[in-house]
Every structure is written in structure tokens, then in C-alpha cells.
């Protein structure tokens, strides 16, 4: 008799026993743990990692560009801060968008919302992570800008100028975090990566243009614009002229363009089916 070669299969070793455990009702998952997991999920994919890495890379490129091409007279800290701020204003909202939409576009929400059956907690944890990442990224950006200012002025031999106050920096961080929350809101509202990213650009590029044209063509709108144009209202944060009226503008425009759609988005997330 010829022997039949038996292929190596799982049957070559016995199936391991898995046993149900009955030790009563477990403790509730603490919110800190949900936040920790959500933070890890922002870094643990190749795209997530490179998105984070792109913050540092963009900072370095922007700083390098200022040192190379900015006229010596403009080699001041605020120039560096402005140059770095531009890529950050694009990258940070993308990070916020993808942290939300991935659960739907990649369908990982099926597991996420099964392990944490309260969607509001997951969304809240994601928001905390997004804001945290935004603030840390901005601090990194300021640090890179400071080093750029030191190195740039040393190379060109110009005077070191620190022309941004602590308050200016706080406002810039706030402005970027608000931009990030707009991205986050669009992610919650649309729950599709491509759709949310496109809407973000409509939000940040198309709307301001329309409002600008409207304001220049229609006198009645000129006075109204600060109250209804969220981008315009945020602009005051970046040029450091925030006073009582500007805060009120920001609050009203933010309620229209950020808070209201966020409430709608959250309601949809709570009710929608996760497939």
C-alpha cells in the first residue's frame, strides 16, 4: 500500500478549548480608555502615521522655504508662524475628518460601536483626541518656527525678532482648532472620507469667496458678514484683533456653521445604522 501524504492542516493539533466565563457583570468601560483607544487609532495605520508625520514634514518645509526665500527684513517669528500655519490649516482638519469617517468608509465602526455601544462616547473621545492632536501639533509648529527663526537670522546675520505675543499664539491655536472642529463636524455629518474632504474645501474656499463677492457687491451684507461668515470671523483670531465684538461675531457665526450642523450630524450618527 502506498501511503497518502496528508497535508499539514489545523487538525494536526487539537482545537484549543475556549471557555465561556461567568463572573457577573463587568465594570463599565471608563471614558479614559475609550479616548486612549481612539488616540491610538489615529496613528496605527500607515495613512494615519504619515498624516501625523506630514505635520512635522510640512513644518520643516515651510520653515526651510522662509529661510531660503523670504527677504531678510521679513525674517521674523511671525513670518515663520504664518508660513507654518498655512499647511497646518489644511492637514489638521484632514486628520479630524479621517478619524471620524474611517469608521464608516473603512467599516471599522462595526467593531468600534459593538465594543462601545454608545456612539456619543466614541464621538466624544474622538473629538477630545482631535483637539489634543491639534494643540500638540500647533505647539510643535511654534517650536519648529522658533528654531527656524534662530537658524534663519543666524545664517543671514539679521536681528532676531520675536514679534508674536503669547496671546497671538493662543489665538492662532484656537483658530486652527476651530478649523479642525469644522473638519470633525463635516466628518460626523457626512461620514464618508471623500465627501467630507470635498465639503471641507467648499467650506473653507468656496463659501468665503461667495461671501466676499456678496459683501463687495451688496452694501447691506457688508455689516452682516462678520456675523454669518465663519471664515471671516475666524480671520480676526489670526491677525490678533480680537475684541468684544469679534468674539460675539465668532460665537454667532460658529453657532450657525459649526454647532448647528454638528448637532444634526450627532443626531444622525446616533440613529443611523452601522453596516
Amino acid at each position: 500500500m502506498s501511503a497518502i501524504a496528508v497535508p499539514q492542516t489545523d487538525q494536526s493539533r487539537p482545537t484549543q478549548q475556549v471557555r465561556p466565563r461567568r463572573t457577573g457583570v463587568p465594570a463599565r468601560i471608563p471614558t479614559s480608555r475609550v479616548i486612549g483607544v481612539e488616540l491610538r487609532k489615529m496613528f496605527d495605520t500607515r495613512s494615519g502615521f504619515w498624516l501625523m508625520a506630514s505635520i512635522v514634514i510640512a513644518n520643516l518645509l515651510a520653515t526651510g522655504a522662509v529661510i531660503l526665500w523670504a527677504p531678510d527684513s521679513e525674517l521674523t517669528y511671525s513670518t515663520f508662524a504664518a508660513a507654518i500655519g498655512f499647511p497646518m490649516a489644511v492637514i489638521l482638519p484632514m486628520i479630524a475628518i479621517l478619524s471620524v469617517t474611517g469608521e464608516w468608509s473603512q467599516r471599522s465602526g462595526l467593531t468600534t460601536f459593538t465594543l462601545v455601544p454608545h456612539r456619543g462616547r466614541v464621538i466624544w473621545a474622538k473629538a477630545v483626541c482631535a483637539v489634543g492632536v491639534g494643540i500638540v501639533s500647533m505647539l510643535v509648529a511654534f517650536a519648529v518656527g522658533a528654531v527656524g527663526n534662530l537658524v534663519g537670522t543666524a545664517i543671514t546675520g539679521t536681528d532676531l525678532v520675536w514679534d508674536a505675543s503669547f496671546q497671538d499664539l493662543v489665538f492662532i491655536v484656537l483658530g486652527n482648532v476651530l478649523g479642525m472642529m469644522v473638519g470633525f463636524m463635516l466628518g460626523v455629518l457626512i461620514r464618508n472620507s471623500a465627501g467630507a474632504i470635498v465639503s471641507y474645501f467648499v467650506y473653507s474656499l468656496v463659501f468665503p469667496t461667495i461671501f466676499g463677492l456678496l459683501a463687495s457687491a451688496q452694501g447691506w451684507f457688508r455689516d452682516l458678514q462678520p456675523w454669518v461668515d465663519f471664515n471671516y470671523a475666524q480671520g480676526a483670531l489670526f491677525n490678533g484683533s480680537m475684541f468684544g465684538e469679534q468674539w460675539a461675531n465668532l460665537g454667532v457665526a460658529g453657532a450657525i456653521w459649526l454647532v448647528a450642523p454638528m448637532v444634526v450630524g450627532l443626531a444622525l450618527v446616533m440613529r443611523s445604522e452601522v453596516k
Binding site: D10, R21, V116
Partner: protein, 307 residues
Amino acid sequence: MITVDSLTKKYGGFRAVDEISFTAQPGRVTGFLGPNGAGKSTTMRVMAGLTPATSGSATILGRRYADLPNPGREVGVLLDASAQHAGRTGREILSLAARTMGLPRHRVAEMLDVVSLVDDEPDRRVRNYSLGMRQRLGIATALIGEPEVLILDEPANGLDPSGIRWMRDLLRGFANQGGTVLLSSHLLHEIEVIADDIVVIGNGRIVADGTKDELLEAAGTVVRSDDADRLAHALADAGVTGTRTSDGAVRTDADAAHVGRVALAAGVALTELRAADGAGLEEMFLELTAETQRETSRDDQSEGAAA
């Protein structure tokens, strides 16, 4: 223990799940059988809190899913093995689940071992996984929290025969130790070999529900004679209703002993007399499947209606 009570899920006017009730008992494997589109996945998604029910309820261990404080520790759920971020490694996905549930890190390696994801497989990204590997990873995610209850939607999909055998042994062992297992399939055979209890669903309604033995018993008797016409007459005269199968046998709901006595009294020589061995279940299932073959039958139906 899983209890489903008068559960209904409507999409507009369409009743995807229509007033279904059943229980999955601890210590038993409950097979949830139905053709594609019958409402199995919708029911399971409602159980896991992913789809809101229109009315009725589903509870696990006596509580609604949303009221489970740490669901992964009490119920393992696998609804779609492909629903994972393609850019994460298998190990990472399992680590995230373990961290969410608050489990020690060594559970990850243990579970990878249990589901035989070996060598470099745990560290590959899921986009490079075969469906079978994804199923194993999904089963590992379901089991990592040592739950009491398992809810698995088509877990055998994509597994090779040895993998199916492995999973069957795994679930059998789990149920034998007091666990509750609910698994769905659109394949009768798959359910037959593993389930203790079977719930059959078609078009959103439960069409049969019982232990496997009951459902197979209810299938009746197959009887055959060289003289099929005389047999049919004899049975009809005795008040035994039956149907002629395509190969000349008669299938009836009467039990074999009664059919044998009728044939003896009529002097009909039988060539075969046996229990129908789940043929009834299979037939019922085939009917259900045929009904839901919408693409092919719709034209026939509309023509029939016009005629």
C-alpha cells in the same frame, strides 16, 4: 442566553424582519438559517445595537445590548469579517479590542494562537488577508473577552474545509461548557452539522423553530415501490396524503410504521421505507430559497399575472 421578542425592522414599507421571536439557550448551538436577504444579518445587527429596531426587543443575558457595561466581556460579536480598517495589522486590531475591553496584553498572543494566525500573519495588514484569515481574526476578536454568548454571522464563509471543521469543534466546545452560540448560515448542511437548535427564517418571518431532532423528525417518511401507482392508491384509500417525488417515491407526513401497515394490507411490496432524514427541512428551505430568487422569478411572475 439571547431572547428575541416580537422583533420588527421596517425599511419604509418593507418589513426586513417581521415580528420574530426566539431564544438561543446556554449550552446549545443555535443555528439561524435562511436564504440570503431573509433578515438574518438585520436581526443580528439589531441584537448588537447597530440597527435600531422598529418595534420589539432583543436582549442578551437579560439586558439590551446598549445596557451592557462592557459588551465585549459578555458577548462576542462577529458580523462581517471584512469590516476592518484595511491598513491595520491583525495584531493591532486584536490589541485595540483587548484595550477597549481592558484585557491584559497577553490575551492578544493567546487568541492569535487559538485561531492559528501564525508566523508573519498577525503583522500583515488586513488588506492582504484572505477571507478565511479575516474570519479567524474576527472569531479571535469575538472570543478575546471570554464572553458567555457568541453571535456570529456566516462565520464559515471563506474558511477552507479544515477551517470549518476547526470552527465547528471550537463552537461545540464553547457550548458544551455552558456558552450560548448563535450562528447564521444560508447553507442547510453547515447548520445541520453543528446546531442543536435551528431557527429558520424566510422573508423576515420565522418559518420553523425547534431542536434539530424535532425538525428532522417532522420531515415524515419516504416510501417506494416498484408499483408506484398501486402504492399511491393504497395510501390514498387509507387516508394518507403524500406527494410523489420526481424519482417515483412517495413522501408523506405519516410515520413509517403506519405506512408499512397500509402497504402490507394492500399487498404492495415495498422496496424502500425510511424516515425522510431532513428532506422536509431541505425542501422547505429550497422553497424559501426559490421564493427569494427574485431576479429570476420576477419576470415569470409578472408574465403569469398578465396571463
